[in-house]
Subunit: 351 residues, 2 copies
């Protein structure tokens, strides 16, 4: 198997020199691709996650079709709560659902400690299979939900507008919430380490619901556990990316959390974030996902603006500011990737 | 009718000395109150908005029951699009809905210019009636949706997760979006001026969906129109409050928009915002609405923290960082208001 440690995605994560800016897209293995929908038509979402052949197939699709510089394993953040013993359903048109959410101390006690090699074997098998198929073409990113975001789903039971129940715990039962966060941190750490051992070459932690917390809540319930996980899973040469959506207002907290790369959502200005970051971390992002509705020539202009915002020097991984939307035309996604490659090559040559 | 220009809410809006911090709650005339639900049981939401007797009744409820320092007229931001000719429905459990959203230039042309005294007479009548009933006890705030937030509903047709259609316009049809924003700015200005003429003593502009824009989008589509409205509706002695949810990352844009008061959502730290604001604006907010799930003694501690974050000096209007949630126990809302009054009186005396 080829060595990918010198791949430009990995180098950019460590702020090392690259000949052009690497690019991938969150949710790149997803519904906007007809090839994905063709697989999905015959299998439900959970089956796809749990069948290494299928997970491998859709993980590889965007590499060839869109030309991204990294693969990210097709999976779901909620495989961890399921492995901890919670029944997980995906309701068509409604999303993930836990019919028995965690609402009291007794239910909290039912959560079991995971054995990643046993309980999440299907994920690790998929990693091994993807790695074999990729054969070093691009690095493979493994991901996990961050503890707070996993907790929101486990306590609420589903996606929500106000996340009443987890927020209620934050204010009225911080003891229970901390206890859950500790269990989750252990599970996330074990899971990420198992992924790295199976061959993942980078880890991204998704904290999709960070932004519903107050700053004090973020500092009490989300950030310390993320820091602890980053310390625990750190392995030489394996970059760790933390993406906390809606949390750019707490920029300084993010930049000092210990991750190698901070995912930047589309609300932030890359130049401002970079100025604050200095050389502490690389930045990943941050084109507005809805910008891909624009005609291709406008997409190219927006890519140029994004590259110019980051500016000279190394440590930028181009991406969207959140996952690609299911109804984006494939040629628009292709233009995004192509424009990053072409415009950043030009940029690196002339600067 | 008594003069309320010296009421502490108005004085705090203009950063003038107050003996204690004034307090009110967004959505204070709402479902958490059994007295509100009793009225709502017999009338649908639109009927309540359109019947001055009913609007007056629920507007006054929190003044007596919770003891807030300002009334805010019970109404809905979507009365403007309706007055412009759009059919508006409220679907139980789903929220507002425009069955025929604005999706092309032809539909845009159907929007008519409003005549506030004619088309929104019921709002102005309600203001006059509330003022009479209040008899100067507390000032009355009139509100309007800000143009971008109104546009999101008018283009999308309803609440949404991604606001695909308005965002699509921002990137693919900025011409149509600007045209809509111009129409809306005119309508919002006319509406606010009519409210002031009818007796509203402060105006709050709600930009609930500001945070779905990119910074560039906010600067292109939201902010300039808000600035223009503020200039147009400015009247001596009438403070203007701008509340843009999820927009605290663009703090400097907000602080310099021309409003007298900036509404601060619960993600921001009041001390940081105040430091950036200097003496330019007063700040309103910002307790996390879900903090009211906490037991009363914890609510009091959180209120103390909030007051300490703002610190000494004048120009703070205590509020939640967003609307009060429908299932907050009334005693918790009462404790929030009581704690602000008591703790800030102590604070002002000892500092």
């Amino acid at each position: 198997m080829s060595d990918t440690s010198q791949h430009l995605f990995i180098r950019a994560c460590f702020q090392q020199p690259v000949e052009r800016t690497p690019v991938w897209m969150m949710r790149q293995a997803g519904r906007y691709l007809p090839e994905y929908r063709a697989v999905r038509k015959d299998h439900d979402f959970i089956t796809m996650c749990k069948t290494p052949d299928l997970a491998t197939e859709v993980t590889l699709q965007p590499i060839d079709i869109v030309g991204v510089d990294a693969a990210i394993l097709f999976s779901d953040i909620l495989v961890i709560p399921e492995a901890m013993g919670m029944e997980l359903q995906f309701i068509p048109g409604k999303g993930p659902n836990f019919p028995k959410p965690i609402r009291d101390a007794a239910m909290l006690k039912t959560l079991k400690r995971i054995d990643a090699e046993k309980d999440l074997r299907y994920v690790l098998d998929a990693i091994r299979q993807v790695k074999q198929s990729l054969d070093g073409r691009v690095p493979l990113i493994g991901f996990s939900g961050a503890p707070w975001t996993l907790a929101t789903y486990m306590i609420e039971g589903s996606g929500s507008k106000n996340y009443k129940y987890p927020k209620q715990w934050a204010y009225a039962r911080p003891d229970l919430l901390h206890s859950l966060m500790e269990k989750l941190s252990k599970a996330v750490s074990d899971y990420c380490i198992a992924k790295i051992d199976a061959g993942a070459e980078a880890i991204q932690l998704f904290d999709t619901w960070a932004g519903i917390l107050s700053r004090e809540g973020f500092r009490e319930f989300a950030l310390p556990y993320v820091k602890q996980i980053i310390e625990t899973i750190r392995r030489p040469g394996i970059p760790i990316i933390y993406f906390a959506k809606g949390a750019m207002i707490w920029q300084e907290d993010l930049l000092s959390c210990g991750a190698d790369v901070i995912g930047v959502d589309w609300t932030a200005n890359l130049q401002d974030v970079r100025r604050a970051a200095g050389n502490r971390v690389a930045l990943q992002g941050n084109l507005d996902p809805t910008a891909l509705y624009a005609p291709p020539e406008k997409i190219r202009q927006l890519v140029k603006d994004m590259l110019a915002q980051y500016g000279q020097g190394y440590g930028h991984i181009a991406n969207l500011g959140h996952g690609i939307l299911p109804d984006i035309p494939v040629p628009h996604a292709q233009e995004f990737v192509r424009a990053v490659k072409e415009e950043s090559s030009r940029w690196k040559q002339t600067n």
